[in-house]
């Protein structure tokens, strides 16, 4: 067990803002850790609880959700719903014994490439210090 822990992070990014922000970070050659696996979705509110839990259950150490700033949602109010949903889910996760820090929601606009890369670095650090998701172990023993 000397191998260094490299967290796996699943990122669900909204097509209109955060994904474009990530793109911006890329095209501007800003560096950020390669731990995130990005899944592009049309709106952050498209992400339901099931997807997030499934990501954890299939081996993710953390889940990142990126959406538009309030007022900027392409579908007017999707992100308001996302916010509430994620806040409730965070509490539920912590009741279940999964650190709520493993689930993170951020608003990143198409122009905020730097914010995206900084957030990723910071989030990766947080998860690295938290260690592997407790569900990983459970998954392994279930086979």
């Amino acid at each position: 067990m000397t191998e260094e822990f490299k967290p796996k992070i699943v990122g669900f990014l909204c097509n209109w803002c955060c994904y474009a922000g990530a793109d911006m970070a890329g095209t501007s050659r800003m560096k950020y850790p390669s731990n995130i696996r990005i899944i592009r979705v049309m709106c952050s509110s498209r992400i339901n609880t099931e997807m997030i839990i499934k990501a954890f259950q299939t081996g993710a150490d953390a889940v990142f959700i990126g959406g538009c700033h309030f007022g900027d949602c392409h579908y007017v109010d999707g992100n308001y719903r996302t916010k509430k949903r994620i806040d409730v889910l965070k509490r539920l996760l912590s009741h279940m014994g999964i650190e709520q820090e493993r689930l993170r929601l951020e608003w990143v606009s198409a122009a905020e490439g730097e914010k995206f890369s900084k957030t990723m670095a910071e989030f990766t650090d947080t998860i690295t210090s938290l260690g592997p998701s407790p569900l990983r172990e459970i998954k392994e023993e279930a086979i």
């Binding site: 308001y80 719903r81 509430k84 409730v88 009741h95 014994g97 407790p134």
Partner: protein, 258 residues
């Protein structure tokens, strides 16, 4: 309390106000939900048990949407009916509420937050009622302990879907618990913890605290612990309580900032 109640609902039937009264009937040494349609049966109406009458009412209305029925309901039944109405599952205009309060024993058993409906026709509401169990033991656990606790509990699950079946608020015809994308079919116990997280989350802002899920669980998973904590969270985050007023929307579904 029972004699007064029998008189009251007998009058509803005699006067033709309603075509039937949904309540509990004593028969064969057990208590069952029953639709009383004749005054001469009312002698068997009892209040000694608890069944998810709100779901029965919803089933009866689907059978005949025009029929007007009364329901002898406890606090949780009333809250469930209100939540169902918010989601267009039931038409309150065709329901006459006959409210009854729970006694201390019953309220204790359910650890109920509000053991009475808004209006009662007989008996007395428990005054200054505060539920005894605040789930402090659970809350004092560390994150790690919580995970171990739930893992031990949920390993017992034998996938009867009883928690969902007994829930008055679980009305979806297509249930995500049966979606193989999330929960593998035919595996026992269902993978930890997605099955139970889905159910708990789907009830956030919906659960009325009736406790039927936990009562229906053959292996004794303390489902109300999760439900109770989430109800606290919803109140804490949004200041929202379920089953109070049909005009209150579930905050998780609204588009307003909070």
């Amino acid at each position: 309390m029972e004699p007064e109640l029998r008189d009251y609902v007998g009058e509803l039937l005699d006067s033709g106000t309603v075509a039937g009264v949904l309540a509990l009937k004593d028969e064969l040494g057990a208590v069952k939900p029953y639709l009383f349609t004749k005054n001469n049966e009312i002698g068997d109406l009892v209040l000694t048990s608890k069944y998810p009458l709100a779901s029965v009412m919803s089933m009866l209305q689907k059978e005949d949407p025009s029929i007007k029925l009364a329901i002898v309901c406890r606090g949780c039944d009333e809250r469930a009916l209100i939540e169902l109405a918010k989601r267009n599952q039931i038409n309150l205009d065709n329901i006459v509420f006959v409210g009854i309060p729970c006694d201390e024993e019953m309220a204790d058993k359910c650890n109920c937050l509000q053991p009475y409906p808004k209006e009662i026709v007989t008996g007395e509401k428990l005054s200054n009622w505060v539920p005894k169990n605040n789930y402090e033991d659970f809350k004092n656990m560390s994150t790690e302990e919580k995970l171990i606790f739930w893992k031990g509990q949920l390993e017992k699950c034998n996938k009867c879907y009883g928690c969902r079946n007994a829930c008055p608020l679980c009305f979806c015809s297509d249930c995500e618990l049966e979606n193989a994308l999330w929960v593998k079919h035919g595996r026992l116990p269902p993978e930890f913890p997605i099955y139970h997280v889905i159910r708990a989350f789907h009830l956030a802002g919906k659960c009325v605290g009736c406790g039927e899920c936990e009562n229906a669980c053959p292996v004794g998973i303390p489902l109300m612990t999760l439900n109770h904590l989430l109800r606290e969270d919803i109140k804490d985050l949004f200041g929202y309580m379920t089953g109070q007023d049909i005009e209150d929307e579930n905050p998780i579904n609204t588009k307003e900032e909070y």
